[in-house]
């Protein structure tokens, strides 16, 4: 148990550079003049560098808990509900599906097509958006609407995000409790798989329909890699420091994975029948130990593709698949 804690601790520190600091008390130069707002959007990269490799932080912070929150990010939306601030959510992104309550909340676009007019019309007092949405950031600045930017990081990022969102929406205690629970659950899973042989695992999150072609695998960084690592698997592309690797069939054959995990969000065409058909397609590479031993697993679960507060559940699912 103690060693698992240490392992988690070291992971927290090693993947810190992938984490985005959203805390309004982050040691960034405070924004002073409104005129610089537009320049700020242009200077995001420079600003991030001045903050020690961290993304731009918050525009304004107020002491009162926000009562009208818009979140464009599924993972953040889940966290807001999980810390008990769901009642304040008045707008969510196109791809938000969880918790079920979001079905009745106004939609305000997504990463590439945020509906600025709609967002402004909702008169939010806090907007969560992606760090790359610089145009929207500039518009929120001009409108004087507080916002917080977000960038997907690894598991350590999820834990830290949970705490900072809890603080930001006025539910600091529940945020901390939730973050502690995630860490506790993850530590328990790590302890459970410690000492077990770590199967060499190929993690696929995209592939051309019906073919072993255009295979996108997880490299050695990011939340999907972290999840499999925590669940006791050895990512075969861990040496490639990218989140997504376009892997040739040759490199997969040469690296001979013992387990193949395909992570997909369930959808209209993504059914259990579809999942079963994917096993057949992998028979096209019969020398793979994973194929020979029937260890190709297509996992259809929303939690595997949303780096949010349900991460421990996702890691548990992976751990049970890797170590049945």
């Amino acid at each position: 148990m103690g060693s698992a804690r240490t392992a988690l601790g070291s992971r927290l520190s090693t993947s810190r550079d992938a984490v985005v600091r959203r805390d309004s008390t982050a040691p960034c130069p405070p924004r002073t003049a409104h005129r610089t707002a537009r320049l700020l959007a242009l200077a995001l990269v420079a600003l991030a560098a001045s903050c020690g490799g961290q993304a731009p932080a918050v525009s304004t912070s107020s002491d009162a808990a926000p009562a009208r929150i818009v979140s464009l990010i599924p993972a953040v939306t889940e966290t807001i509900y999980a810390v008990g601030a769901g009642d304040a959510v008045i707008g969510v992104g196109t791809f938000d599906t969880y918790p079920p309550e979001v079905a009745s909340v106004a939609r305000v676009g997504g990463l590439l097509d945020p509906d600025t007019e709609r967002i402004l019309a909702l008169r939010p007092d806090l907007v969560f958006l992606y760090g790359s949405q610089t145009d929207l950031v500039a518009q929120l600045e001009r409108a004087g609407i507080p916002y917080q930017t977000y960038r997907h990081g690894g598991i350590a990022g999820i834990v830290e995000t949970t705490r900072s969102i809890g603080r930001r929406v006025g539910h600091a205690e529940r945020g901390d409790a939730l973050a502690d629970a995630i860490e506790r659950d993850l530590a328990a899973i790590r302890a459970r798989v410690t000492g077990r042989a770590r199967p060499r695992t190929l993690i696929v999150f995209g592939r051309e329909e019906g073919q072993l072609r255009g295979i996108y695998a997880s490299g050695g960084t990011g939340f999907i890699h972290d999840m499999v690592d925590a669940a006791g698997g050895e990512n075969i592309f861990a040496d490639v420091v990218q989140e997504a690797v376009q892997a040739s069939l040759e490199s997969i054959l040469a690296r001979a994975p013992e387990v193949i995990l395909e992570f997909r969000a369930p959808g209209a065409t993504r059914t259990e029948t579809w999942a079963a058909q994917q096993m057949d397609i992998w028979r096209g590479a019969p020398s793979l130990p994973a194929v020979r031993n029937g260890r190709v697993h297509v996992l259809l679960d929303q939690r595997l593709v949303v780096p949010g507060p349900r991460v421990a559940g996702a890691v548990d699912l992976i751990a049970r698949t890797l170590h049945p």
Binding site: L112, E208, G210, Q246, A247, L253, A256, G284, S287
Partner: protein, 337 residues
């Protein structure tokens, strides 16, 4: 005394030899080292022989796909340049590749599935690409015929260029409504990928390519006559309309088949024909077969670079052909003038 044609035959033979050598050598090179003796050792069961699988599943089909696609695109380039009497024509000028791309984008974005009878030979994305290519061929032909009895190359060009822009706009629209991961994969398809992983995917487009090859063999002489202008060709007894029709359909069909295999890989269809003409003159009886062979060999080499340079990550082969082909073509342009 040897005729000009006979004196050029060694060049064609050399080009053919280059293609064969490229296809034979390419499977020996890769991101991982394999034991050739073990790869060809029949006593080891295939489903346990990693070396054999890397050779026969990962590398050989790619080399064959590259040869087939490169040869098709280079030969189609020659025919389009002659048909449109425009040295800047490429296999993609008349909208065939954008039609194919639109088909592929739709299949990727909407996750189309097909009955297993079809997907056995042709998975959804290549099938949709082939259908899109053939659809755009028919549209361009119909447009070119609507204005005059014969094939007006001017209308052909205008219709093709317009269709290209129109389909590009539709592609942008499809990408706009698609979700992030699909758009990413769709973009990647547009950069070209020859990692076909099965021989089956080469079999389905093969009849189209074979049919076009037969047409090309017949076309060599008529294209020589057409190079002097349609009226001159007619004066020398050529059925110009028929020759144009055959040239248009065969070159379009072979382009569609090639794009369905590897995506819209650029530059092969323009630099290879020009390079060959520079060395071997303008006689299509030489230029057509030589371009096909050099085009195949060129793409095989480009694909070896694509799969080894950044291994284990793949480099899109379309980027390799562009990076090599673009500057080379500019150099050619300056050198000639």
């Amino acid at each position: 005394m040897t005729s000009p044609l006979a004196s050029r035959l060694p060049f064609v033979a050399g080009a053919f030899a280059a293609l064969i050598v490229a296809v034979l050598v390419a499977p020996l090179i890769g991101s991982s080292s394999i034991n050739l003796a073990r790869a060809f050792d029949a006593s080891v069961p295939f489903d346990r022989n990693v070396d054999a699988q890397i050779f026969f599943i990962a590398r050989l089909p790619r080399a064959l796909a590259a040869a087939l696609v490169g040869a098709s695109l280079a030969a189609a380039g020659v025919v389009f340049q002659a048909l449109l009497r425009n040295p800047l024509a490429t296999p993609y000028t008349l909208g065939v590749s954008t039609g194919a791309s639109l088909g592929a984008m739709l299949a990727i974005t909407f996750g189309w599935t097909l009955p297993s009878v079809i997907t056995w030979a042709l998975p959804p994305v290549p099938a949709a690409a082939l259908a899109g290519a053939m659809g755009s061929v028919l549209i361009v032909y119909w447009l070119a015929r609507a204005r005059s009895a014969g094939l007006s190359t001017t209308v052909l060009l205008l219709a093709g260029v317009t269709l290209n822009s129109f389909f590009s706009a539709l592609i942008l629209f499809v990408q706009y409504i698609g979700n992030f991961a699909d758009v990413y994969r769709a973009m990647r398809w547009l950069m070209g990928n020859l990692d076909v992983s099965t021989y089956r995917q080469l079999v389905a487009p093969l009849p189209f390519i074979a049919l076009a090859a037969v047409a090309f063999a017949w076309l060599a002489k008529p294209l020589n006559l057409l190079a002097a202008g349609t009226s001159a060709a007619e004066a020398r007894g050529l059925d110009v309309q028929r020759a144009q029709r055959i040239a248009f359909f065969s070159a379009s069909v072979i382009t569609g088949a090639a794009v369905s295999i590897g995506g819209p890989i650029g530059f092969v269809g323009i630099i290879v024909p020009h390079l060959v003409r520079l060395v071997a003159g303008a006689d299509h009886r030489i230029v057509l077969p030589a371009s096909a062979c050099i085009g195949g060999a060129f793409l095989v080499v480009c694909d070896v670079i694509a799969r080894t340079l950044l291994a284990p990550v793949e480099l899109p082969v379309g980027i390799v052909t562009a990076v090599i082909g673009g500057p080379f073509f500019l150099w050619l342009l300056i050198r000639r003038s």
